[in-house]
Symmetry: C2
Subunit: 355 residues, 2 copies
Amino acid sequence: MERTKKITIQDVAKYANVSVGTIDRVIHNRGKVSPEKKQKVEDAIKKLNFNPNLLARTLALGNQFLICTLSPLAPSPKHYWSMPKKGIDQAAAMYKDFGIVVESYFYNLFDESSFVEQTNKILELNPNGVILAPLFLQESTLFVDKLEKQNIPYVLIDADIPDHESLAYIGPDVKRSAYIAGKLLNSVIKENSDILILNMVKGFENASALNRIEKGFREYFTENRLKNKIRIHTLTINSTDKETVFRELTKFYIKNPLIKGVFVTNSKAYLISDFHLLHELDIRVVGYDLVEENIEHLNKGGIDYIISQSPLQQGVRAVQMLFELFIYKNEPKKVQHIPLDIIIRENVDFYIQFH
Amino acid sequence: MERTKKITIQDVAKYANVSVGTIDRVIHNRGKVSPEKKQKVEDAIKKLNFNPNLLARTLALGNQFLICTLSPLAPSPKHYWSMPKKGIDQAAAMYKDFGIVVESYFYNLFDESSFVEQTNKILELNPNGVILAPLFLQESTLFVDKLEKQNIPYVLIDADIPDHESLAYIGPDVKRSAYIAGKLLNSVIKENSDILILNMVKGFENASALNRIEKGFREYFTENRLKNKIRIHTLTINSTDKETVFRELTKFYIKNPLIKGVFVTNSKAYLISDFHLLHELDIRVVGYDLVEENIEHLNKGGIDYIISQSPLQQGVRAVQMLFELFIYKNEPKKVQHIPLDIIIRENVDFYIQFH
DNA sequence: ATTAATTATGTGTGCGGGCACACTTTTTTT
DNA sequence: AAAAAAAGTGTGCCCGCACACATAATTAAT
């Protein structure tokens, strides 16, 4: 049963009294067509509301698009960095028949040289597009410089590189996320408490992001005139190793017994929750990212809020951006801040399902 | 430059030493293939990891799928019900070249007969699939009974119809959403306050949903032993008209001056916020849905939390479900609860952009 | 004016698969 | 054992579009 006849190039040709070849020339601006016919064709296209069939076009063109992705290697499927990868794979499967081929490369989070190594592999391949999680700012800058020189469009996820010509940045508004963390943490502690901004860094250079986080977090308290009621401490531990963290925390908590809330600036809030549970401390925790351990501690009550930056969505969208560029020639918006989902025990299930 | 050669039916044919016709018969289980050759073909398919090209298949089949949608008419683009529509249109555009055609029908939110009228139109068209927002429970039940009789798959959005064979329900977990509302409202009021569950209903029958909402909301307070600290009132106003609502609210607040928080069970929290601002009342508000007026009042501070059930996403996903059914023959999960996004002033911008 | 060089236009093939049909081989029927 | 039916296999055309190539109509060059 035919319901809506689709308009094809043939229909337009018949209507305009020319051959399909001419239609083709007009559509693709190949020239070699007389002004009168060109006009006629354009009219016909408008009149019939013709839109080229994307499937047929893709099939006929038969070209392939190679997308290389470069992100940290996830030590386990539960790890944060397995999530963008999952999103990327999902989107890749969706678009594979459009000729989109995705090849994933990974670097060691604690080894800049592995990053450089992978970038060289990618540059050699001369892909049509790149998706990059630029955790090593300096090395990443060098990499994207080269990409720009080779005219390879790239999409940044998770973190941005300022002043560069990326196709798009898809990730959180870092400062805002910390501001929200401030609001959330404040909502679960009593007045006149001390709170702690807890950084755990191991190796790589993300000082600028940490700065923006701290700034955003403190901003909430200054803007809402809570500065004299709430005292904010900062503790930076140069490790994510459980033992070291526990040791440093013990030291700190003994010196600062009034701490009633902690804002953990990476995805390892569960470590701190663990510490609190172990030592029966009633301290509220706000952290980032829905990794499995955080979900556990959210359910146990050791973590109060998790701010999620939908890493899976970031992966999906990054691929979509390049797909649209290749297939539709659409240039996306440069900066696309991902929603900062506020996760509590009561809605965590929904996010597990979808993100 | 060929990077990864795609495996076609021809490749498989060559590898298995048969013609493409035979491959085709094996793939589609059309029979008329000798067991030996069938085996050979299956081996070849596995060995070469052959996946039929979806674009070519769709093009060759050339069939059309009509999806009819039936949802309340949105009086303005700002209205809640324009958002699922937007999502549906977005997805429809994406899949149009796959032969997916979407026709939208609307009914008057306050007129059951308009609903029935539209259902009849749809039934006559005998579409391949239906997307339904079943706000009139009784009439909707009759409608889906007929759909089931005509073997037309349907997806429900926004509200579910129990005990029916829908392809899927895509919408919120209503009870849970109210539980969350309880938690959120509780987090912004002082101890020993009175709070109000405010229903505004005009005409149609959604009593069951309202019951579940009230139950979920109260559950939070009982489960967390807040019953003696917080007194929960319920007020149901049979109108959404500003004047009436204001009048009823005035009456109620005069009688119950201790109210410090309101949970508005529909998308019109902005009305109540308006009332509070006008009368300089310091009463916290939690409500549903990111309609434009709510966003305004979120920013003004008159609304503290909005729980959003991503209506645009609901529309998108509903179309996707049918697309997958038609094109991939995938049956989706029956119940798909949409994430209940928690919106505050600080993250509202992100949701406006994406949802 | 005649040929060469352009420019304008039409035709045909292939992308990867689906399906109708033709043809061959085997099995069943009488 | 011959005819009819069924099973097994291959070929060709079509889906809608892009692009190479062939052909026709102009224009420029000699």
